[in-house]
């Protein structure tokens, strides 16, 4: 091939690439526009009219919280046990689900020499199905069997977590450098030992970030499950929001606690990751 034909080829390739991005952008606009059209035709009031009232409710909550003054902090303290219950549900669910996710992830990664290879696709399908069920549905089902308590909520969140984190973890595994694993294989290390020393030290910092992000997501998920009787901060939120006017200060206190805990988790996450990445060697 001469330089001229290569140049023409490159120009043609460039044109094709531009065409693809244009089509992509047009498709996205079409999807957004049709989605908006569908939504506004199905709603009773139009979206834009609703938008004007959108800030009324939050405004009311803030005003009531302001009026409560120092009583607001008393409310925050009062709801602290509810928050702790929610954090408990989320924490236990993340730990149990995370542990299951680690096992699933190692068995579902294509680059780690899992034998026979059929295990990999079976485990992946298991993780897919675990993610397919919304937490809320599993929780409702379990509450129906086990009764209203934090345990069904914990199981429901853990179940989803195992599937979701398992997928993310296995993707991290698949980006791991193969050289250390091969080095250990050449020493005669067995599969578990290769995973423990060849893969785990490489992937642990990323596992930890995903784990903490999931904990954050699970705090929110556990709060939502309170709406269906799983206890914790969600049960309180349902009560105060359900009452509508008058409980704005309580709602504000609950949101305040939720936001605070997410801040705390985020800080903790960066701190732990920092230590793991740049701190002392070993794991």
């Amino acid at each position: 091939m001469t330089a001229d034909t290569i140049q023409l080829e490159i120009i043609a390739m460039e044109k094709r690439r531009k065409l693809y991005s244009t089509i992509g952008i047009l498709l996205m606009i079409a999807v957004l526009a049709s989605g908006y059209g569908l939504a506004s035709s199905m709603n009773s009031g139009s979206f834009l009219n609703g938008l004007e009232k959108f800030f009324d409710y939050p405004g009311e909550i803030v005003r009531e919280a302001w009026e409560a003054g120092s009583g607001f902090f008393a409310l925050v303290l009062q709801f602290l046990p509810a928050l702790i219950e929610t954090l408990n549900i989320a924490g236990a669910a993340t730990l149990v689900g995370g542990a299951a996710a680690v096992v699933l992830a190692f068995l579902g990664s294509s680059n780690l020499g899992v034998k026979p290879p059929v295990i990999i696709s079976v485990v992946r399908r298991i993780m897919d199905s675990m993610r397919a069920f919304p937490e809320l549905i599993i929780a409702l089902f379990l509450i129906f069997i086990l009764g209203s308590s934090p345990v069904p909520a914990m199981i429901a969140v853990a179940f989803h977590t195992a599937g979701a984190l398992g997928k993310l973890f296995s993707e991290v595994n698949e980006n791991a450098d193969a050289a250390p694993i091969e080095g250990l294989e050449s020493c005669g290390a067995n599969w578990l030992q290769r995973m423990r020393y060849g893969v785990l030290p490489q992937v642990l910092p990323n596992f930890l970030s995903y784990f903490m992000l999931r904990f954050e997501i699970n705090v929110r998920a556990s709060a939502i499950l309170g709406f269906v009787g799983a206890g914790g901060i969600g049960t309180e939120l349902r009560r105060t929001i359900g009452w509508g006017r008058g409980a704005g200060d309580e709602t504000a206190a609950l949101f305040f606690l939720l936001i605070l805990s997410i801040f705390a988790i985020d800080q903790l996450s960066s701190f732990m990751r920092q230590r793991l990445v740049s701190g002392k060697a070993g794991s």
Binding site: D177, A179, P180, E182, G183, L184, E185, S186, C187, G188, A189, N190, L192, Q193, R196, Y197, G198, P201, Q202, A281, G282, S283
Partner: protein, 273 residues
């Protein structure tokens, strides 16, 4: 060790083509040849990292190509391997990396919680000391220079208490001084521990300087197998398939001129007598 008609096919490509040779007494064997000649594949088949397509490798009467599970891993421990890219665990400290050489023979449960008793740690430190990098024992492997990392890899190999050492281009990504240290350490495994060392090399003068025997490979076949002295320019041209004589001094990585006194092979002979 008797290698007989060893072959490896990747699809329609034959990487190693019916290779046969035997190693009776401990010796240092240098394997030379152009890239793609099958040198790495051959070493990887001996260590069982790559499965052979045909042939046999007999060690003390048994064909190690047919070992499975536990016995295969035991064989892998017996023939330690050193890689061009070191293949250490970068995020673990140096002494742990060396300890990992003994994972085989260590109970899985114990090793999962990294309980390597005191005596093993002492052994690992002794191995590091022998290679002159005991001071770096607690640093992460990734913070070391290439030459140091390769010496950690050699320490790990020693930790395996191997019966043979394979080295796949051990100095190809090192500077000349580090390369010399690494080759000297490998030579020492041959003289001090009395083990066979098989070493793939790119530089001819390294092969001449450190090896007792040179195997030349071309397109998967062995085309030369003799003492370094027999490696004439004509033979070299055949191995590399060049149509003109190669000037070794152009690709040489040795420091200064070689003299008889500094020749490791010569000095080993003196020590042995």
């Amino acid at each position: 060790m008797i290698v007989n008609e060893l072959s490896k096919h990747f699809g329609t490509v034959t990487a190693v083509d019916a290779v046969s040779f035997r190693i009776e007494a401990p010796q240092m064997v240098g394997v030379i040849g152009p890239s793609g000649a099958g040198k790495s594949t051959m070493l990887r088949m001996i260590n069982r990292l790559t499965e052979a397509s045909q042939g046999s490798i007999r060690v003390n009467g048994r064909d190690i190509l047919h070992l499975k599970g536990k016995e295969k891993r035991r064989w892998q421990r017996d023939c330690a391997m050193i890689f061009q890219q070191f293949n250490l665990v970068p995020r673990l400290d140096v002494v742990t990396n060396v300890l990992l050489g003994r994972l085989n023979g260590h109970s899985t449960l114990k090793s999962l919680f990294s309980i390597f008793g005191k005596s093993l740690v002492e052994e690992a430190l002794a191995a590091l000391d022998r290679l002159g990098i005991a001071d770096q024992a607690l640093q992460r492997a990734e913070t070391l220079s290439g030459g140091q990392q390769q010496r950690v890899a050699i320490a790990r190999a020693l930790m395996q208490k191997p019966k043979m050492v394979l080295a796949d281009e051990p100095i190809a990504s090192l500077d000349p001084l580090s390369a010399e240290k690494v080759m000297t350490s490998l030579r020492e495994i041959r003289t001090r521990d009395k083990l066979t060392v098989i070493c793939n090399l790119h530089t001819l003068d390294t092969a001449r300087t450190y090896c007792d025997r040179i195997i030349g490979m071309h397109k998967g076949r062995i085309v030369f197998d003799a003492a370094p002295a027999k490696l004439t320019p004509d033979v070299v041209r055949d191995i590399y398939g060049a149509d003109h004589a190669l000037d070794e001094s152009v690709t040489s990585t040795s420091i200064g001129e070689r003299s008889a006194g500094a020749d490791p092979v010569a000095s080993d002979v003196k020590m042995a007598s």
